[in-house]
Amino acid sequence: MTSAPVPVRVARRLSERRLAILFVAPALLLLAVTLVWPLILALDLSVRDVRFIGQSGDFVGLANYADTLNSTRFWESAGRSLIWVVGNAVVQTALALAAALILHQRFPGVQIARVWILLTWIVPTVVVVIIWRWLLSNSGGMINPLLVQSGVINAPVGFFASRESAMTTLILINAWRWFPFVTLMILAALTRIPADLDEAARMDGAGRWKRFSRITWPLLQPTLAVLLVVGTLLSFNVFDIIWLITAGGPSAGTQTLPVLIYETAFRGYEMSQAAAMSVLTGLFLMVFAVMASRGMSREAGP
């Protein structure tokens, strides 16, 4: 068998490249239309003075960026976003890890439990909001009477009555909604851990905790690292639950960056200002994603 002459191979490679480009082109075009073009529009909007949709606005250069970077509200909201993301990451991961470890066991009904746990994730956000608003209400809600009867509190409390309690309650509600997704990911990772490793450790006399801390936990790290990046980006952008339950209140206590951007654009009628905030926020998230990806690649080794 003889190989094709060089010009033929080059020609074949070129035509393969053309074919590859042809195959990828629709996807690239779709990306350009749905991602790049809106991004360009947002950039254009952010250097203008547009208040409402439909106005063309004058070119104002980087004034909106300067205003945003000098705005106390922006940085305060960024701080609240950080609390929101970290709070969600901790609570969701803890809940999901516990649930995944339980669901990884063999017990009667485990298959039903694995499906059933998805319920909170399937339920539409509006339904989640209605359920929790009702449960936490002082007028007929169940949580307050339960806490009073069990002696945890003396009188009904307002879960959204202070900045701290409102943020904590929202984090718990959002974590409750999203932890099934994380559970499934961790469960998938758990099933990939070879059973003989655990079995060998057991034979060597390792206890449950030792097997978990020396085998399960280290082997879960790559999955947890991916979840950290994806989860951070997802929970950072959560808007619906916060807006529908507290609208950023009380006293701006739950006003994260997405809420501030929405308010600026559609309540304050400062489209360009909101676009500048969005671009800056997008940049922060991009830097985080790149750094996290590099960190993961470094840990994974060559």
């Binding site: 002082n138 959204f160 304050g268």
Partner: protein, 425 residues
């Protein structure tokens, strides 16, 4: 004759098609989304279309939460409706885009025919024009459980001193004397404004456009609202309109400040009309009159076209006739109040079973609405910055600073004015 028939048939067809071409189409966007309201509007539209073959009105229900962004986008895209329902703070946004037509002359005609409520027209009258036709009014009142007041031996309060004492006395055994919102939202804006209006602090702007918010009277109103909050459910920092009604219907709140609670009370609160009390919102000691927040929902004309304007006027004129107007208002019985004198006495309005059952309450609501006003739309002093000030709920932000953060009312009001000035810039 035989030869003539095809010719006549053709002529008739041509005339029919000519008539179809001459039809003027009017697209109406409104935000009355509940199905029963959409259905009632459709019934009226169908009747109008049947009676006016040259005009075709269609409706597209929208969402209040989205319309502030959707309407400017629709205008930019050239898909705007011809008629759009509005509340006063929505109008300046579209007016700034040059999309709203002056309907002053038409409103004068309607006023001559039906005697429109002055305060309803005032909210849309500025910049040498009238920018929407008022359709139905809403006014806040103090709603209370008669039996709770009677059992406690408490008279319905008229002044702030009486109100605070009554509310404190009623707060016991798991019942809250009053349900007042302290959330960041329009409901809280509206309730806090009733406190301001009842202390003579109803003006947000001076005539020159500078702000008149930072006054001792405003600070006193916030101090009073904060004092009353002690006797309100602790979750009221997250309340919207429905939460107050739920608290009232479940008897966890002895009273609330609300536009209406008739439907909720009737369906969830026992429905004994004699047990449902309604009164003017108490005034500050020293004030002579009760005041409240009231505003008319209205319809804007967006179409810049003589034919569509004529069709719009025909449709609204038809709708405001007492025989139809009462049925229009009763798309939500006990909430929407008439803005015309003949509408207030219209048989079509009072014939509704719910209106008959709660007639005395509705009459009190109508009486309360006579002394109603709306922040940013008083005394002809209306400026474009009212839209973002209202949109960002600055009035309730100030209340939250006092109630949640424990700020001094005077300092919070001063900070609120600074925030308004920042927004206006």
């Amino acid at each position: 004759m035989t030869r003539l028939t095809p010719t006549l048939t053709l002529a008739a067809l041509l005339m029919a098609s000519g008539a179809a071409v001459a039809q003027t189409e009017l697209m109406l966007w409104h935000m009355e989304q509940p199905p029963h309201r959409v259905e009632r509007i459709q019934v009226l539209i169908d009747e109008f279309n049947a009676a006016h073959p040259d005009i075709v009105v269609r409706q597209e229900p929208q969402n209040w939460g989205e319309i502030y962004a959707k309407a400017p986008a629709a205008l930019a895209a050239g898909n705007a409706p011809d008629m759009l329902f509005a509340i006063p703070d929505f109008v300046p946004i579209l007016k700034e885009l040059g999309a709203v037509q002056d309907v002053g002359a038409f409103v004068v005609t309607l006023d001559e025919r039906h005697d429109l409520l002055d305060s309803a027209v005032a909210s849309y009258s500025y910049d040498n024009g009238v920018w929407a036709v008022p359709l139905y009014n809403m006014a806040m009142s103090l709603w209370y459980h008669r039996d709770m007041f009677e059992t406690a031996g408490i008279a319905v309060p008229s002044t702030w001193t009486e109100w605070l004492a009554a509310t404190e006395a009623l707060t016991k055994d798991g019942v809250f004397g009053i349900g007042l919102p302290a959330s960041k939202g329009l409901y809280t804006d509206q309730v806090i404004y009733t406190f301001m209006a009842n202390n003579g602090a109803s003006e947000i702007y001076n005539a020159d456009g500078s702000f008149a918010f930072d006054t001792p009277a405003t600070a006193e109103a916030y101090a009073m609202a904060a004092a009353m909050q002690q006797f309100s459910p602790p979750d009221s920092a997250g309340w919207f309109w429905g939460d107050a009604e739920a608290c009232f219907a479940s008897r966890a709140c002895a009273s609330i400040v609300q536009f209406t609670t008739i439907t909720t009370f009737d369906t969830q609160g026992g429905g004994n009309a004699a047990a449902l009390g309604v009164a003017p919102i108490p005034r500050a000691d020293g004030q002579s009159d009760h005041a409240t927040i009231a505003y008319a929902n209205a319809v804007m004309l967006l179409a810049d076209d003589a034919e569509k304007r004529a069709a719009f006027e025909t449709f609204i004129t038809w709708l405001m006739e007492p025989a139809k107007y009462g049925r229009f208002l009763n798309m939500e019985p006990g909430l929407f109040l008439p803005v015309t004198a003949d509408g207030a006495s219209a048989e079509s309005f009072w014939a509704n079973p719910m209106a008959q059952k709660y007639r005395s309450q509705i009459e009190t609501m109508i009486a309360n609405s006579a002394n109603g006003r709306l922040f940013g739309f008083t005394g002809g002093n209306t400026f474009p910055s009212i839209a973002p000030i209202s949109g960002q709920n600055v009035l309730s932000e100030v209340l939250q600073a006092v109630v949640i953060d424990g700020a001094d009312p005077a300092a919070a009001v001063a900070a609120g004015q600074a925030r308004m000035e920042e927004i206006a810039q």
